[in-house]
């Protein structure tokens, strides 16, 4: 007989970010209230006044690691949670704060880094420092995907990132392909899960869900060159969100 699984204890944490991902969770609306039936939000700086540190089933962490205090914080969170889910582009691919890593050397060295209390040389995603069990991609995350993995983890199913590019969902949505019109789109190298949001409104995918491991950058880049994009334009596009120092799709 299956045991009664009880409520899953979760916490939300944010490092350096805009906190939009935690808000995006509220997009579940009624489903959010219903979810409170099987999860218990033990920690959330936005929703809770008192946040004593306790053992957690799942820690959802947004934001990237900018300084050593972020690092210490995430290490502590890791220690006391069974699962750690990185949430949003900042936490999974260094995201917008990580543009700092991709700045030209001159600008980078002139940055007033001392404004960060204990600065790190680069902005990092979580998995550079701690074990991350699952990455919820996107800027901001897709709330339906959040619910899906919350439910799966609650039941003991370990979700895994599948190597599916945005183009798959783009085709399902029946959008006209932008690459065919000569517009540079990162869909073929970006993880799906957003329902091809941007191509759906005729805007190119800018890679907020991170690059797939299977990505063929060489082919895409040479395609962009054929479209007439200049070197720095291609670089800007590839480093819109994908700025993690260890993995930047060739930049």
């Amino acid at each position: 007989m299956k045991k009664n699984i009880g409520k899953t204890r979760i916490g939300f944490f944010s490092l350096s970010c805009c906190e939009g991902c935690e808000l995006a969770v509220l997009e579940l609306n009624r489903d959010f209230v219903n979810a409170l039936g099987f999860v218990e939000i033990l920690e959330s700086r936005i929703l809770r006044e008192k946040n004593p540190e306790q053992e957690l089933g799942i820690a959802f962490v947004e934001g990237s690691i900018v300084g050593k205090d972020d690092l210490e914080k995430i290490q502590k969170i890791r220690q006391r949670s069974k699962f750690l889910v990185a949430m949003g582009a900042c936490a999974t691919i260094a995201g917008i704060p990580g543009i700092r890593n991709s700045l030209p050397e001159k600008t980078k060295s002139a940055l007033p880094l001392h404004a960060v209390k204990k600065p790190l040389a680069a902005v990092h995603r979580l998995s550079d420092f701690v074990k991350v069990d699952f990455e919820l991609q996107g800027c901001a995350i897709n709330e339906k995907e959040f619910l899906k993995i919350l439910v799966q983890l609650h039941h003991g199913f370990f979700p895994r990132l599948e190597e599916v590019p945005v183009c798959k969902e783009c085709k399902e949505k029946e959008n006209p392909c932008l690459l065919l019109k000569g517009i540079a789109c990162l869909g073929p190298v970006t993880y799906a899960g957003c329902d091809a949001l941007c191509p759906g409104v005729k805007a190119q995918c800018i890679g907020c869900r991170g690059f797939t491991k299977d990505a063929n950058f060489a082919s895409l880049k040479s395609m962009f060159k054929e479209f007439g994009l200049k070197g720095n334009e291609i670089k800007n596009l590839f480093t819109y969100f994908n700025n993690n120092p260890f993995e930047k799709g060739g930049f």
Partner: protein
């Protein structure tokens, strides 16, 4: 099975192929939309028509007040009507937890539809899908139930597009339809293809005619020699062309998503939030993705080369060996859709030019 068997019957084929005068009616162009609306309102069918969608792509949608102005009849739709038989996401079962056990509810949901505007290649594509889902080691009920409640109205193609090569597969001549509309000056010659057609009959709009169905279709400029292609490719499994072409490939899976005959799907279970009940879904999958062959021991088709090869070989060789038809109907959609401009015609003809083991 309700699909009219006679369309496969040799006598019927003979009649159709060699007699110029066929039984049929005439429908005026201006009556087309009223006719489709009639089918929707009077005959209670859900009319699916090719339209330009809000993003500017051509695809099949249910006819409605909003999109009736956007009817697209110039050429084949960019997105095929495959989704009405194999939706990209479809619930198979609901497993309801009942005490220690479960109750299984099967999804049986389908509306009687009429699909208008299928081109000859689309009709042949349906036939290929039928082979897999109606009689290949059993049937698939989700497909079968849908297939049995869909009536098809084909539409003649006058001007093939740049990447069309249906003639190479002999799929330029329509087969397997309930009605087929041949383009005529200010109207259509309506050919009857199955006994089901009566459900589509409308006295108000169908006129008796002396017209014939003579086709004015232009020939495709793109050609592929398909004789023995299956055997040739099988021998050229290690041809360097695969490696060369796959360097361009983005593995975006657009080709398989858009192909009217690609049918591979994945099955997944999901819990319904807050309950012990779960649902089983089926979703399009694609041989272009690594996960397609991932098992505990590893990924069988890890390289881009082997995945691209699987696509082309399945189309032109494997399926042919299984079912005696090609899994390609020459619609050219995969060539249209490929951002890297990879073309299976190009690959096949390169291999034809430079086969390995030619002796």
């Amino acid at each position: 099975m309700n699909i009219f068997q006679a369309s496969n019957c040799p006598a019927w084929k003979f009649l159709n192929d060699f007699c110029v005068i066929v039984l049929g009616y005439f429908l005026k162009k201006k009556n087309l939309l009223p006719y489709l609306e009639f089918l929707q309102e009077e005959n209670g069918l859900q009319a699916i028509v090719p339209v330009v969608n809000s993003n500017g792509a051509t695809c099949f949608e249910e006819l409605s007040k909003e999109n009736s102005e956007n009817l697209f009849l110039d050429s084949k739709a960019f997105f095929s009507a495959k989704k009405f038989f194999l939706p990209n996401r479809e619930r198979e079962f609901l497993f309801e937890k009942k005490a220690a056990s479960f109750e299984i509810h099967e999804t049986i949901k389908h509306r009687h539809k009429v699909l208008f505007g299928l081109r000859s290649c689309d009709l042949h594509a349906l036939n290929a899908l039928d082979k897999v889902f109606l009689d290949f080691y059993g049937y698939d009920s989700l497909y079968r139930n849908k297939r049995n409640t869909v009536l098809t109205i084909g539409l003649e193609c006058l001007k093939p597009e740049k990447n069309c090569f249906c003639e190479s597969f002999g799929t330029s001549k329509p087969d397997f339809f309930d009605l087929f509309f041949w383009e005529k000056k200010d109207g259509f010659f309506v050919e009857i293809g199955s006994p089901e057609w009566e459900k589509l009959y409308c006295k108000k709009f169908f006129e008796k005619t002396r017209e014939n169905r003579n086709s004015q279709k232009e020939n495709c400029s793109l050609k592929l020699e398909t004789k023995n292609i299956a055997e040739l490719l099988e021998k050229n499994f290690e041809n360097p062309v695969w490696e060369k072409e796959s360097e361009k490939c983005l593995s975006c899976s657009s080709c398989t998503q858009i192909c009217p005959t690609c049918y591979c799907f994945a099955i997944e279970d999901f819990f319904i939030p807050g309950t012990e009940d779960s649902e089983r879904y089926r979703e399009w999958d694609s041989c272009q993705l690594q996960q397609f062959t991932r098992i505990n021991a590893g990924i069988f088709r890890q390289s881009r080369k082997s995945r691209l090869r699987q696509f082309v070989m399945h189309k032109l060789s494997f399926f042919r060996q299984q079912h005696n038809v090609h899994l390609c109907v020459g619609c050219g959609r995969c060539i249209d859709a490929c951002p890297a401009k990879i073309s299976l015609v190009e690959i096949a003809s390169q291999i034809q030019k430079n086969p390995i083991g030619a002796d």
